[in-house]
């Protein structure tokens, strides 16, 4: 049995490329003050978002992003066939509780910070497979909920090393349909879990870069394309350290990406002014940069074809305390304007 919608080993080529009808982004105050501040749909000026806890605030941001994307497409929640969502918290509580409120048939995802691209790849498969008309893929993260789960309480007086990254507070949502106006998802290359032995939870860029590179290289091999075929290749949250490593690793494989490669974690903050060290991270990092900045450029026609690679550090405090290293993953999705 051959797989007619697959090219090469691990790349899906959609027969009727699904359309990204609308995107929505909600971010916290720090992201709103960043260089991409005016590309987001909603900037919340309080990281509690009027809730009692940060977890509830994150959940509300995710709900708002999903509601907003549905409203932007002039649809109602009952028109949506599936909601694919995830986040970083244990048992993905933000996504589960947001889905409780929204009442849309729900598939929970965990791909760490690669969740947005995992969701977009799966949404495209559901639509091109003929299983759905409207699918929403969404995810969220929150600086304070992530810090208390993975690292230290927020008031702890510690010094962050220069490789540390800042978890983006916010939520992004993407609505796809078989027809309509908007950029189309043409290919997806599913990532492999790679582990290069990095054990430092404050250095996730180094842990993820090889997985992103592996996906990009396999994508080029499967499709017969190269960096020149894309206006932009953009990884999710490698940050400044991971970006430099990925550029070097791709150079070693004879792919020159020096002109058209960037990273959402590098773009989202002004690292000197905002004290974010190596850059942004978290599920929301790639989600809100895609939903805001990249979607804007695609709609303007500034970018004709981009390869987005959502990168995830599959970090667990239990596993790292037991001496395990941090595996990484990267999912690639091609979007054409």
């Amino acid at each position: 049995m051959s797989a007619p919608k697959r090219v090469g080993q691990h790349t899906l080529q959609f027969a009727n490329p699904p359309v990204i009808v609308a995107t929505a982004s909600v971010v916290g105050p720090k992201e709103g003050e960043g260089p991409l501040g005016d590309t987001f749909d909603m900037v919340v000026d309080d990281s509690y978002f009027g809730e009692e806890t940060w977890e509830k605030a994150e959940r509300k941001m995710l709900e708002e992003a999903v509601k907003m994307v549905i409203a932007k497409a002039q649809l109602k929640p009952q028109d949506i066939d599936f909601l694919l969502a995830g986040d970083l918290l244990n048992q993905t509580i933000s996504a589960n509780y947001a889905a409780r409120t929204l009442g849309i048939p729900f598939l929970g995802l965990y791909g760490a910070c690669s969740t947005m691209y995992e969701g977009m790849a799966l949404a495209a498969m559901l639509i091109d497979g003929g299983f759905a008309h409207h699918v929403v893929a969404a995810c969220s993260s929150h600086y304070d909920t992530a810090e208390r789960q993975y690292r230290f309480p927020t008031e702890q007086g510690i010094q962050r090393p220069p490789t540390a990254q800042w978890t983006v507070t916010g939520a992004g949502a993407v609505l796809m349909a078989p027809v309509g106006n908007g950029p189309r998802v043409t290919h997806a290359t599913i990532g492999r879990v790679l582990d290069v032995g990095i054990k430092d939870p404050n250095d996730m860029g180094s842990a993820m870069a090889p997985a992103a590179v592996d996906t990009i290289v396999r994508h080029f091999q499967d499709t017969g394309r190269g960096p020149i075929d894309y206006d932009l290749i953009i990884t999710g949250d490698l940050g400044r350290v991971g970006l430099e490593i990925a550029t070097k690793l791709l150079g070693e494989k004879k792919y020159d990406v020096s002109k058209n490669y960037s990273d959402c974690g590098v773009l989202i903050y002004d690292h000197e002014r905002q004290d974010t060290h190596a850059g942004g991270s978290g599920c929301a990092c790639s989600a809100v940069v895609f939903a805001g900045h990249l979607m804007g450029k695609l709609n303007e026609g500034r970018y004709k074809r981009i390869l987005g690679v959502g990168t995830g550090a599959l970090l667990s405090t239990t596993a790292t305390q037991q001496g395990e290293s941090i595996p990484g993953i990267g999912h690639g999705v091609v979007i054409e304007g």
Binding site: T53, R148, F152, P153, I158, V196, D203, R240, I245, K248
Partner: protein, 170 residues
Amino acid sequence: MAGSTKQPGPPKKPLTLAEQVMQQKQTYDQQAYQRLADSVKPRPRVIVNALNAFWIGGVIAALAQVITLIFASAGLNPRDAAAATVIVMVFLGALLTGLGIYDEIGKVAGAGSIIPITGFANSIVAPAMEYKREGFVFGVASRMFTIAGPVLVYGFIVSVLIGLIAYFFS
């Protein structure tokens, strides 16, 4: 019974040559990658950080000394003056944590504000504040010592050992 307390697990077989080669290649690849990552990573500013730790730690210590002198001049004996100073410094550390200032100091000072007893207060108050939302029993009370706990445990162990040494050898 001694045999049954051993860790369960598959019996250790000697690795085949191919497996040994694979294992060594993997280690080599990981080391090569670690070198690449290290060449890219920004270095922590050791000298600036050390100077900041030194002067801020020094200021905290000097402040404590001033407080000790005030208590002493008010008539407390040296032992009581030291104890009262500790109480004041712990209070100050807790207060600054509650006001959201201590973590800003810690960002610059590093070990300079972790080592003094104000840092110890910070490490107890910060999780207590953080976990208040999970309730007063399983939140505040049980999480309060997540960071300070190891300091207390090993502090107690060392003090017991020193006590024993002092008892038997003095």
